[in-house]
């Protein structure tokens, strides 16, 4: 760890100096995959371009390819030049190219891991990485146990052996139910120490999500009304216009609830509903999130308040798209859901009685993620009933993506001689002016891993608590086939009816 307290050049008032990680290696398993090419390698380049990589740094690729470092470099170069956020500059790239390394090997091949362990020792000498390494497991979940066992065997996961830190980054899915998640957590926490395990949920790396905490806890304006006295309901939406993108094998065994609801949506819910943390450090924030996740209650009537859907063929953005069942490699008669809408409650004094409506789906009209807090209507309106027909409920909407920002919707008088009140929106565009400087989620998260900052990573208890919510739903759905919805519309009829019964409607995002 860096020791700012003993370094005379570090001054807490000096906000210009960025935090730069210790010398270290970032080892990526499955470095030839999509995620590595589109996100990880570009993020490393962007960090380098912003001067946030330590002087001693190595990006070590590990994959089943008969490659030398030359082939890896051309792959990495193409990935960085195509997908990096910041401008591609030759001199920055040359420096990163100097710190690239590649090892061929498959996940079940002990020799590959012996070679990797030896390579890490060698890099201490040649690149001065001081025994620090972060392992990024961009691999299918089925390969997790094998890889982790190999790491345990070669002792490369052990902090004490080489005198530096050893960290591991795991991607979702974290298991497929509570039981399997526990086994996985138990394994990864045993091989590494719990503090060295980083579970990536890339939504938490997004600026607007972090801004939600600033919005709530840095202002006096919102917190007093952030409770069941004023809030009528909360809608959290994550809609995608794409289909399953050729990931049929994975998707068909998971479905929307495991793929999105269990992690992204429940994390967004936790950040929206949690109490104020006592401080802004990782432990305090996670403690509050856990409390909320543990307080989530499921609807009593699952049949009407936990809706699954599966898209049928239809038209989307002017193109004809096939039904889920007709997508390549989807088994005939599959009952996997591509849409979920569920009404959850939070059993705390702050939120008792406020429904949290969560929905996610594929092949919906547009790609959007947002959190909408809908406020109660004013208890009394001193206007004529006809004056306020067009007045809805006040809303505070945090737009997570795209077009990041915050919208506040309230009633305003329509100009003219008659008293007429109508909803207007006040917009704070985070995107329009800030995007150029706001880092990509992966950039931020990789930097946090190398710095050892756990704030934006869910802890294993959070994963466990999320599965506690999902498991009963999955159990119920096992005997209830999903409802069909046309590709290009906002989900199945049942989801609309779920809100209609409560006297509400879904927001059109």
């Amino acid at each position: 760890m860096s020791r700012p307290e003993t370094n005379p050049l570090r001054d807490p008032r000096d906000r210009r100096l960025p935090r730069v990680p210790d010398p270290c290696a970032l080892v990526v398993f499955g470095v030839t995959g999509d995620l590595a090419r589109k996100k990880l390698i570009p993020a490393v380049y962007d960090l380098g371009n912003r001067g946030l990589l330590p002087p001693g740094f190595v990006l070590l690729g590990f994959a089943r390819r008969d490659w030398g470092v030359g082939e890896f470099e051309s792959l990495a170069r193409e990935a960085a030049s195509q997908h990096s956020r910041t401008e591609f500059r030759e001199d920055v790239w040359r420096r990163i190219a100097d710190s690239l390394s590649f090892l061929p090997g498959s996940f079940d091949d002990p020799e590959g891991f012996d070679a990797l362990a030896a390579k890490l020792v060698e890099l201490e000498e040649t690149h001065g990485i001081k025994g620090n390494a972060a392992f990024y497991l961009s691999i299918p979940p089925a390969a997790f146990p094998t890889v982790l066992e190999q790491m345990a065997r070669t002792e490369m996961s052990d902090n004490s052996v080489r005198g530096g830190w050893r960290r591991v980054v795991v991607e979702k899915p974290f298991g497929h139910d509570q039981q399997s998640a526990r086994e996985l957590n138990e394994l990864v926490d045993r091989v590494f120490t719990p503090n060295d395990v980083f579970r990536i949920d890339h939504y938490l790396g997004k600026e607007t999500v972090q801004n939600l905490l600033a919005l709530r806890f840095a202002n006096t304006l919102f917190e007093p009304i952030w409770n069941s006295h004023f809030v009528d309901s909360v809608q959290i939406t994550m809609a995608e216009d794409v289909g399953i993108d050729g990931r049929a094998a994975f998707y068909d065994s998971a479905g929307a609830a495991r793929d999105v609801l269990q992690n992204h949506l429940l994390q967004l819910l936790a950040l929206t509903a949690m109490e104020e943390p006592v401080s802004f450090d990782a432990e305090a924030i996670r403690t509050e999130k856990i409390k909320v996740l543990n307080a989530i209650s499921l609807p009593r009537d699952l049949e009407h308040d936990a809706i699954r859907g599966q898209y049928d063929q239809g038209w989307l953005a002017g193109q004809r798209v096939p039904a889920y069942l007709d997508e390549k490699d989807v088994p005939k008669g599959s009952t996997t859901e591509t849409y979920v809408a569920v009404r959850l409650g939070i059993e705390t004094r702050r939120w008792a009685g406020v429904p949290f409506y969560l929905r996610t789906g594929k092949r919906l009209p547009r790609r959007v993620t947002e959190i909408a807090v809908v406020f109660k209507k004013a208890p009394h309106l001193p206007f004529d009933a006809t004056d306020t027909v067009e007045l809805g409920q006040n809303q505070l909407v945090v737009r997570v993506q795209p077009d990041e920002g915050v919208t506040l919707r309230f009633g305003s008088k329509v100009p003219g001689s008659a008293m007429e009140v109508r909803d207007v929106s006040m917009d704070f565009l985070y995107g329009a002016s800030f995007t150029e400087s706001s880092p990509e989620a992966y950039e931020r998260l990789i930097l946090d891993v190398l710095l050892g900052d756990q704030t934006l990573f869910p802890r294993n208890e959070e994963v466990d608590a999320s599965w506690r919510v999902i498991d009963p739903l999955e159990e119920f759905w096992a005997t209830h086939p999903p409802e069909k919805y046309r590709a290009g519309e906002w989900g199945p009829r049942g989801a609309d009816e779920m809100l209609t019964r409560d006297g509400r409607v879904w927001r059109r995002p």
């Binding site: 020791r3 003993t6 050049l9 100096l17 917009d427 002016s433 800030f434």
Partner: protein, 324 residues
Amino acid sequence: MTTTLWDTNGGDIVKALLVERRAAGALASGLALSLVVVVDEKHVAEAETAATVAAAAHPCRLLIVVRRSLERDNRIDAEVQVGGRLGPTEAVVMRMHGRVALHAESVVLPLLAPDAPVVTWWYAAPPDVIATDALGVLANRRITDSAQASDPIAALQRRAEDFAPGDTDLAWSRTTPWRSLLASAMDPVDSAASTATVGCETGNPSGALLCGWLTSKLGVETTVEDTKGPGITEAGITVNNGYRVRITRPDGRLATLSLGEDPERKLPLPRRELGDLLAEELRRMDPDYVYAEALSAATGVGGLDQRPATRTHVWRDPAWAESG
């Protein structure tokens, strides 16, 4: 997108800005600050480019003031733009002739974004005493660039004597990558430093500030060596136990880092563009006390952080100087 006003007045500029804003819709909502740029005619294009880069990171209302000959009759020409070639920002470029240029603040004040911080940036030789320029007095943050002066080291001295919290200098922003590298190189070091050196082009104000920073933070004598440049070319720290940190950058682009016995490492350390420097300055609106300490150590002027943060405008008529 653009309205050009010839021989106009402050009131009409305010109206034109309002009309442009309405026409552009929500384009420029979420202003974080007003940036007042004081610039000579020949540097307008450069200042605009830099401000556009900075505005991409910090949405601002850009007010560019060009003061032209005092001798001519009073006249203001203005160009009002929202979301035009200056990027996603609101910009007003004002050219002032005659004595109205001495009262530029009377035009600028009604144009400032409501209740947002004001930053004034002199992209020209900075005034000797900032209190004599009302555009500096009304700002929360003042950015000068000593490197623009004919004698930069003397200009730095002036900045120290005239300092008030909230002042910064681009010569200081230019040291950030060096300071960042030095600080991370010192992270693993346990014992105290014994000596430090800085090598830079003769009369380079950034070199002087880097030296001042090392002196104030390490508490050791730091020597400056003159080199051919460009800019800062090297910096080194020797620690009591003999461990050495040394960074050299002879070509202004690629640096070589050597830490103790470790093998040398090359890394890019390019001299940064004006826009990046400005964006760094706009990132924070609070006084930079680390700069104050470095400036104090570099110039020998003490008590900088004790100075009051606000100035009172001092009227100084250039006509007096000529007659007296």
